[in-house]
Amino acid sequence: MTEKIVLVNEDGIRTDGRKLSELRPIKLEVGILSNADGSAYIEQGKNKILAAVYGPREVHPRHMALPDRALLRCRYHMAPFSVEERKSPAPSRREVELSKVIREAFEPAIFLEKFPRTSIDLFIEVLQADGGTRCAGVTVASLALADAGIPMRDLIVACAAGKAGGHLVLDLNDIEDKEGEADIPVAYMPSFNAVSLLQMDGLLTIEEFQQAINLALEGCKQIYALQKEALKAKYQAIKESAEVTEEE
């Protein structure tokens, strides 16, 4: 804090070499765990996050079952080794809050009413954290839900925008998150132009906020395309392996 870090240089380039409205490199994989009903993996910058879905399945404990829809449960959790200082595996208040807002982000997207008396359990495990884990977590969880065959109105995609080094920037990394001026994580259903998660830390004028939201939504749209590609690649692979099996 004593020496201010230069988050954006005079050429408008950020500490990791990106331009202001550039996403970090993103790698998506679908269907990578054998036990879960659906799973996916994301690398976004140095973030490494797994998501898995179990359900619709019987609810334990039973009294939590809802008569008219599925119970959606969500756990956002960080591995003890995912951050600089070892994190206790017991859920922190931050993890509890993020689990709640992520669950609320997915509730409008899933056709929960199709599966009364069941639960759909969504687990997001941050293996390495580098800023923006809740957004990357939403993005990857969406793929895990799709992989589990859970019917959704739209994929949920998430991306943050904010302000760092005096500039509005897209997809903040760890240092921009910690040393920057503002961070706005946004989850979005592109087909409905609907925001289902929104938070903000920091200080922004309404005008800056408006621009930042638009920037975040642009980021969401780019990642949405990547999500669809990742799903297509998975289906393609399944289809091919099915054809191979048939041919044999």
Partner: protein
């Protein structure tokens, strides 16, 4: 079944009124319930306030202790915000460790105070890297009739505004209390405004019946200079980007009104 049907009828009734720009309790969409703030009511606490927002009632006590700074902020005091859903406040609240709702409440109140830099934490260092003042803000919900976030933010900032810190001197590396107090150094007065979205229409300061039927909740907090310092969306519905921007403009206006009430109290 019955309670689902009742809630459906209730929902229609509330939503119908809101579509006509009205509310079941007679308020307009941008009206807050009556606000009553009493400050300095708990003499044993370094700061305190009770806020009544309609029938919602929240007490906040501020306690000050000496502790260690965070290793990445060796020269700053520590702010710790906690919220208790005291079981006498609602038939829904249960005794026991804090649940996700009260953790969210504490974190949203904390965010407004922290991000607006309302407390001059850098003035609360006693011995760099070793001893700093720890400010405990304890939000105590006494009656829940909706919009706990705004009531808690108001009560917290009101309590911080009357918080006093004991004077001290350092003898052989130990802190000794001296007689007298100085006020907690504050540089901002963050205020939050919470909306309910019901059938796509935004109303401020939802009471409990509205919260039960709302699709989504949106809280926007502003610092003194008119900048947004914290946002939290809640609930399982969605908001359009346009609604969010519209809400920000309304919230800015309302925070100015509310800030005046707090500052005068």
């Amino acid at each position: 079944m019955t309670s689902i049907m009742v809630s459906r009828i209730r929902r229609q009734q509330i939503a119908q009124l809101i579509a006509d720009g009205k509310r079941l309790d007679g308020r307009g969409p941008k009206d807050y319930r009556p606000i009553q703030i009493e400050s300095g009511i708990i003499g044993k606490a370094e700061g305190s306030a009770r806020v009544r927002l309609g029938k919602t009632e929240v007490m906040v006590g501020v306690k000050i202790d000496i502790g260690e700074p965070f290793s990445d902020r060796p020269n700053e005091g520590v702010l710790t915000t906690n919220a208790e859903f005291v079981p006498l406040a609602s038939p829904e609240f249960e005794a026991g460790p804090p649940g996700e709702e009260s953790m969210e409440l504490a974190r949203v109140v904390d965010r407004g105070i922290r991000e607006s830099k309302a407390i001059e934490l850098e003035k609360l260092c006693i011995i760099p890297g070793k001893k700093v003042f720890v400010i405990f803000v304890d939000v105590y919900v006494l009656n829940h009739d909706g919009n706990l976030i705004d009531a808690s933010t108001l009560a917290s900032i009101a309590a911080l505004m009357n918080t006093k810190i004991f004077k001290y001197e350092i003898k052989d590396g130990e802190v000794e209390k001296k007689p007298g107090f100085s006020p907690l150094p504050l540089r901002d007065v963050p205020i939050s405004v919470t909306f309910a979205s019901i059938n796509g229409i935004l109303v401020v300061d939802p009471w409990l019946d509205e919260e039960e039927v709302m699709d989504a909740r949106l809280t926007i907090a502003f610092s003194k200079d008119g900048r947004i310092c914290a946002i939290q969306k809640g609930g399982s519905g969605t908001l359009s980007p346009q609604q969010i921007i519209e809400a920000a403009h309304i919230a800015k206006e309302k925070t100015e009104e509310l800030r005046e009430i707090v500052v005068k109290s």
